[in-house]
């Protein structure tokens, strides 16, 4: 039984062979690569980044990134390269421009709307708590209530 476990464990390492291994000359390049594949979207499976996706296009783009890094291209140059081909959509963190304004400002606008609704609600509630009787009417009411208690 132990032997079977051992064999299973041994063969389970084969799973890693599916993902290509990238080696770089220096730490800096590796960092850039990791950051890029993390932040660029795979356009085939749109909810995955390049690092997660095993689609062919993602493999090709990873290969392209490695080539570009090895050619000494900067991170910004590689991002520009991808954006020129696939548009801002390829970025998981889209830039702030007029197309994406609502995307970035939306949460704050909704927060503002919520605050306004809250303020209106609170002031209304406050006004309702305020007695709407005049001083004279209040005295009369008190008197009536006192009389009531006296009867008990």
């Amino acid at each position: 039984m132990k032997l079977i476990y051992l064999i299973t464990f041994l063969f389970s390492f084969n799973a890693y062979a599916g993902v290509e291994v990238q080696t770089f000359d220096n730490q800096q390049q590796e960092q850039t690569y990791k950051k890029l594949v993390d932040e660029l979207r795979c356009l085939v499976c749109q909810n995955q980044n390049l690092a997660d996706s095993n689609a062919e296009l993602a493999q090709d783009l990873r290969k392209k990134i490695v080539e570009m890094i090895e050619a000494g291209k900067s991170e910004q140059q590689i991002v520009d390269y991808m954006v020129a081909r696939y548009g801002d959509f390829v970025l998981y963190r889209p830039p702030l421009n007029k197309n994406t304004f609502l995307l970035w400002a939306g949460p704050f606008l909704i927060l503002l709307m919520g605050l306004i609704v809250l303020a209106v609600f609170v002031t209304r509630q406050k006004n309702r708590d305020k007695p709407s009787l005049s001083e004279e009417q209040q005295q009369r009411a008190r008197k009536l209530l006192d009389e009531d208690e006296g009867d008990d």
């Binding site: 356009l43 062919e56 020129a84």
Partner: protein, 179 residues
């Protein structure tokens, strides 16, 4: 009265928003190439290694650039439409044979017909990346100046041709004659 109207309007607004959202196709990523010069390349013809195809050679003509592959199942779907369009000779169609095996590709064309005046052979997919291709089939409309005018992602339907692509081609062709 407003007590009831306000939520009602809110609800209607939400329904409209969601209905529109349902109709949108997230796969249709707007191409950054629209209105820009088509990326240059030079690849050998699928059928003839000695000949090269490059978009620059197409200057002065409106043409369609269709990305296809023999392994692409949905390419089969739009294929009869392309055949018909090629037969009508309204607009030249060129192909980009994307990440394919040369023999398979030629066999595919032999079997189903060849609507392309020529297909550029791109086994590594490098040109595909340059053109921002991410899902085969894709179809580009390119004008006389070599500017990309339109990109269609996915299978072409008759309605796409009738409503978008052909009117655009016709318009581009007529403006070309005037100038």
């Amino acid at each position: 009265m407003t007590r009831f109207l306000l939520p009602l309007f809110g609800f209607i607004g939400l329904v409209v928003l969601l209905a529109v959202g349902l109709k949108l196709d997230p796969r249709e990523v707007p191409s950054p190439f629209i209105g820009k010069p088509a990326p240059a390349f030079s690849l050998s013809h699928l059928h003839d290694d000695t000949k090269n195809f490059s978009p620059a050679k197409m200057k002065g003509k409106v043409w369609l650039f269709n990305v296809w592959a023999s392994w692409c199942v949905s390419c089969r779907q739009e294929h009869p439409l392309l055949m018909e369009l090629a037969k009508s000779k309204q607009v030249p169609i060129f192909g980009l044979n994307y990440k394919d095996d040369q023999n398979n590709a030629m066999l595919w064309l032999k079997q189903w017909g060849n609507p392309y005046q020529a297909s550029a052979f791109d086994p590594e997919g490098g040109v595909g990346i340059d053109w921002g291709v991410y899902g085969v089939p894709e179809t580009f409309v390119i004008d006389q100046e070599g500017i990309v005018r339109h990109k269609h992602i996915g299978v072409l339907k008759q309605s796409d041709l009738d409503e978008t692509i052909m009117p655009m081609v016709k318009k581009l062709q007529s403006t070309g004659q005037q100038s």
